[in-house]
Amino acid sequence: MSNPRLPRPDEVPGDVPAPDRDSTPPQIVTPQQAPQEMTVTSVLNEPTADAPTDQIAAAQEVHLATTESRENRTARLSTGVLLALMGLVLLRLIFATHGKATFALSDALVPQAERLPDIVLPGVPLVVVATVVMLAAALAFLFGRRLPGWVRGVAGAGAATALVIGFITWAAAGRPLPFQVSNQLAGTLVFATPLVFGALAGVLCERSGVVNVAIEGQMLTAAFTATLVGAVTKSVTAMLVGAVLAGVLMAAVLALFTIKYIVDQVVIGVVINLFASGLTAFLFKAIMAPKPQLNEAPLMERIPIPVLSDIPFLGEVLFRQTWLVYLAFVSVAVVSFLLYRTKWGLRVRAVGEHPQAADTVGISVTATRWSAVLVGGVFAGLGGAFFPASTGLFNDDITVGNGFIALAAVIMGRWKPILAACMALFFGFLQQLGSQVQTLGTPINSQWLILLPYFATIIAVAGLVGRVRAPASDGIPYVKA
């Protein structure tokens, strides 16, 4: 075997004239490659542009065979096991279910004449059906490696519905009071409101590349400020403005430390939370405790939307809420529009994915991140205002982890505003379910029901979410070359 060697230096000594560079460069024309390239080019040169681009894309994009990844497999199996466990719990509940379950479609406060009829269903069969659905879904996950994605989606949705219905039926069966369906759904919206705002704050921050663990602290500070401003001015508007200012101020602290001083983003988030909890507790004791009149925020009233609120059932659920609830859902649309349909949004997303790329086309990474964090602060502030606006006063640690649950909603919502809002609704549903079931007087200890959202969050981040992809530069500070 001959010695392998570099062909260039000795074989082409310097005195051999190099090929004429003014004409064409050395080029290997390959028959195998030429046809493909030529069709691409000729297609492109046709005047009608839109249609052929798909073909180009199809020709250029890389497609390799795929198999089930390890993470997906883990997610599928753990989901299956979890569903099977819940199925077994439902199986047990069959034997604890007695009598009929009553579901009220209208709130008890609605005048008798306008009320929708209650639905009365036999308890045991309903729980049996729920159990069967649950176990079937579990089997679909455990053994359905080759099932298409939508089948698993349907199975998952069916399992979730079965779990909720089975659980509620067991809880309501044989009780004197009906389970309030409209109340459950309307309450879901209420509980979801601060979570939606918090999640939007998180989405904006993290899309720009700043991890926001400080949502809780931002909301807490905003809640305190809202209470104080509300108590002094007795104006709901001023209260909201105060909350927004506080939220933005705390966001500015986060931005200062993460963007300017490049401190570890998670660490500073946690420290800001601690600061906020210490500060509000201190001021609460120092200012509000001696003067209780400073701890009287104006309550936000429910505003029925004309016409829409008269729709049976739906009107009661959706259109008899406070301004803040309406605002939360408008905000989702606004943030979605900002992120996906404006120049600013494109830049925010670019800065969160590949800040250097943005920098090289003349976008200020620092300014874009600052703006995204501050705008996020607006929503965190509104989320904070929710608490005094619905209870009328401030308490130590009034936000009780809502900021963290919002953060979980951001991750489970894959950093997308609409999906994150859906996750916030899910958590809201659990919170309302907890308080609803408590009023039915079920044998479950109320402590456990309060913990429902926390358990759900762990299960969600540990298994059900599967593979999530954060913005590529989320949490990574940008330091110029």
Partner: protein, 402 residues
Amino acid sequence: MTESPTPDRTARRPVRLARVDWSEITVTVFALLLAFVIGAVLMVIADTEVQQKFTYFFARPGDALTASVDKISTSYGALFRGAFGGIGPITNTMAQSAPLICAGLGVGLAFRAGLFNIGGQGQAIMGAMFGALVGFKLTGLPLVVHLPLAILAGVVAGGIWGGFVGFLKARTGAHEVIVTIMMNYIAGGLLSFALTQALFRRPDRADPIAPVVAWNATFPRIAGTQLHLGFLLALVAAFVVWLVIERTSLGFRIRAVGSNPSASATAGMSVANTTMVTMALSGALAGLAGVQVALGPMSGATPTPLTAGLVGTIGFDAITVALLGRSRPLGTVFAGLLFGALHAGGLVMQGTGTPKELTTVLQALVVMFVATPMLVRTLLPFLRARRARRAVPAVASSGGLA
């Protein structure tokens, strides 16, 4: 990935760890000063009486200023007396710092492995719960059996609570920050639930409070002082953590995984196992902190009985302790003593009308400033001339936080 454009900094710095770095100490001292200044401002703003004096500030500025100075000196004076004014307060500071040191060591150990354990709170709660349970349920055992048993119960409970998070992280990739936060709430809920059950509730009381821990499960105390065995345990824990991190192959793995997990995996280390072991150890240390609270005699001769609020905010304070101590055992001991002093003094300060929550604000501020030497230098320009070159984020360089 990206290489720092200032290579001479790392190249010239001596690498031996644990050498005294005067610049860090200067920044820490001034961070402390700044925090106290801001705390003073807060105090004055929040005090209604002083506020009134300020309403006629322009007529008689002396009144407002005197009132402010009075307020500040009374509060901080009380704080200082409560922390250092005599053998009682000093030993109280040490007693207060013991759980902070233990939990801080736990958070710091996790930092070294690149993990952020915000779950110290939950782990401490579990530690306190099971330490206390063994402490008051078992009777008739001698001290040498009962006390170690109670400590062990708490440590193991904390270790399991933390190890579970490590398990989830290693197996499913669930982010430990979210999971530990949720585990904190669950631990809190669990404790509240337990206190309503026969196993934990004191038979003669209607409110959720557990029985007093048996005398043989209480930390022995030096008579006439607040100093009990817990502080010694904390120091031993600090030494053991140092030994493990710097001198054992386990510590080598923890540091390697914390610094560069993919290189560690390529070098044949199991990142998953290291994550689980580190979280379990971290949780065990936080559990030890919980044990300290449950079994350490406080102002009376006996430990405070277990209630929902007994653990306080130790888990969160521990984060600040670890950050201020830069995740190093010796630093953690000093940081724990400092914040222990704040806690001890805070209670006395509360007596003068300044809420003790001010100490939480001070803690957070100190850590914020320590994390950003650049900010301290911006606020205090006279520091800049001396040390302008070394503008390194202290937290980021403290060993694998990023």
